[in-house]
Symmetry: C2
Subunit: 334 residues, 2 copies
DNA sequence: CTGAAAGCGCTAACAT
DNA sequence: ATGTTAGCGCTTTCAG
């Protein structure tokens, strides 16, 4: 014990914490510091936590069957700002089961987590274990029907709109949309943005092909083949539900000898790490700012307010233009 | 306090923990349990930890600039078995900096983490903060020069060898290898496995093209184009440093009108989540069992032995055959 | 069979 | 200006 080394029990605490309103003689301070250095003593934060009722720990609940790209990015963001505030992340994965979620939130609370981040990969409505309400909790990429917890969500409508506008800006007038899973919240929102943008440019969405897929690369491949088979003139641009579908589309187009972006532009969505920026041609896409969302969540929590600020915060998804999009080739009919 | 509800202070502890060698009358037990249920009381694990000197928490140090696919998989595995043993993961990311690593290991230790997992995405030698030695520590996908900590590593030589043997088994005799970053441990090991397999089949590795890339999709693309430009007869199979390079290769081949697997077989490495199984054709590859490695690490730690069992544990990387490989087409010269 | 008491490592209020 | 005391919530001898 540092106390043996010096000659004081709680004085150490005063010195180490610079307790305000406490004045310590320079001599003792030195003595303490020397002892601390010698034993390289570090306060036991579990004990501090017990005293303070605060563990300097934030529970991160990944409510998915797997940790994936989403969780990794969100965790990175949350970690980054938590660290800055002296907090660490206590991580659990529920496997997507509501029962497991309740169980694990219990474990987190037992360990006195000061706050909770509840995150899901595919934006959607979730059931949050009610015990979560005992501490400040933020929902990341998900929400509850009554908005009892504050949510942080990507602004998918705007993302879809701006992606479409980017294409329109390049001169495209015939844009096909290969959607992700139709039932998904994000799919609907992106599609809505797509239609808004078309209407905004004076075009009729009903003249534009929309095909339903499932967010997997092979569905992008398949739908693009359908596009190639069935239509007369190919659209000059293809928007895809996400980057993986875009990669599938790319493969199908190349197989058919269609050049990207000379003959057709392709737009993804997600800006998926190690994918969008690396395929050839590199993919124009919309950045899903999971890391920023994680940061935001942690900021709300670290700020620590009783934090039952409610409501939904939408985070902007910026368009990232790379090589898979270009102005359409002048058409014969033009 | 549950104690108020019943009429006992520490008896609660006996009941809840079924303390061996303690015998409790059925009546009191019921009383306690009823009170516990009513207040849905749960013991404070921070306090338990303080008492026991054990936090039921394992520190997971991701020593990379980012959380990525690797960390996500390894964490998933480690989480899975930790949970089963009643432990939770306390997660930190060092950004790859040794100084940050020391700092964060400090934070973990201050919070009384019972053990540490130190993980890196690209297999390599690392500098582990020396304080890590205060608790059982396992190195995941990395090692220290003197093997002072036990390491868990993928068996890359065998992976490379078996991937090559799979191709040889299909009848391929001319296999090109597009490597990842040459300086990487994994690259060398996989290449060694490649050569061992060739020699094992009575072939001379020097007759096989080996081109150096960097594990990114675009380098797979570029090297494949080089292959297409420079060589007379294309090899019948191309092994790639990883799946992303394989996707690059796929794109380049399709662009050139070369069919996969009819004209050329392509083999990846990693079995990357959401990639290898989804591109068209689906990628034959070697599974890098990061989740299993994570599980293994947690198992060694949860077993909790003083656990300074040292040495390196190699984990098998099984070949996964999908659609991008097939028997070579009969050649004119054959 | 159960309660009282001490103590894990720390800090906040209260004496000195 | 420093040291004492009590207590955070739990477990564990040790007496009853």
């Amino acid at each position: 014990m540092a106390r043996l080394a010096g000659v004081s029990p709680a004085t150490v605490s005063f010195v180490l914490n610079r307790t305000p309103g406490q004045t310590i003689s320079d001599e003792t301070r030195q003595r303490v510091l020397r002892a601390v250095a010698e034993l390289d003593y570090r306060p036991n934060r579990a004990a501090q936590g017990l005293r303070h009722g605060r563990s300097a720990t934030i529970g991160f609940v990944s409510h998915d069957s797997d940790f994936g790209v989403f969780a990794a990015a969100a965790i990175k963001g949350a970690h980054e700002v938590s660290i800055r505030h002296g907090n660490l992340l206590l991580l659990v994965n529920t496997g997507g089961s509501t029962r497991q979620a309740a169980q694990l939130v219990g474990e987190l609370l037992d360990r006195q987590a000061d706050a909770l981040i509840f995150a899901v990969a595919g934006t959607k409505s979730v059931v949050v274990p009610e015990e979560a309400a005992r501490v400040p909790t933020v929902l990341l990429n998900c929400f509850v029907p009554d908005d009892a917890f504050p949510s942080i969500l990507p602004d998918e409508v705007r993302g879809g709109r701006e992606a479409t506008q980017a294409l329109l800006g390049l001169g495209h007038r015939d844009i096909a949309y290969l959607t992700g899973t139709t039932s998904a919240w994000a799919t609907k929102a992106r599609l809505r943005g797509f239609r808004e943008a078309l209407r905004g440019a004076g075009l009729d969405p009903r003249n534009h092909t929309v095909l339903s897929g499932n967010y997997h690369a092979d569905s992008g491949h398949e739908l693009t083949r359908k596009l190639l088979r069935h239509r007369g003139p190919l659209p000059t641009a293809i928007m895809c539900g996400n980057d993986r579908m875009a990669v599938g589309a790319l493969l199908a187009l190349l197989e058919a000898g269609v050049r990207v972006p000379e003959d057709v532009s392709v737009m993804g969505y997600d800006d998926q790490f190690e994918l969008a920026g690396e395929v050839r041609p590199t993919l124009s896409t919309v950045r899903l700012p999971y890391d920023a969302m994680g940061r935001l969540a942690a900021e709300e929590l670290d700020a620590g307010g009783p934090a039952v600020q409610t409501g939904r915060t939408l985070v902007h998804c910026p368009v990232v233009l790379r090589d898979s999009t270009a102005a359409p080739a002048p058409r014969a009919g033009a």
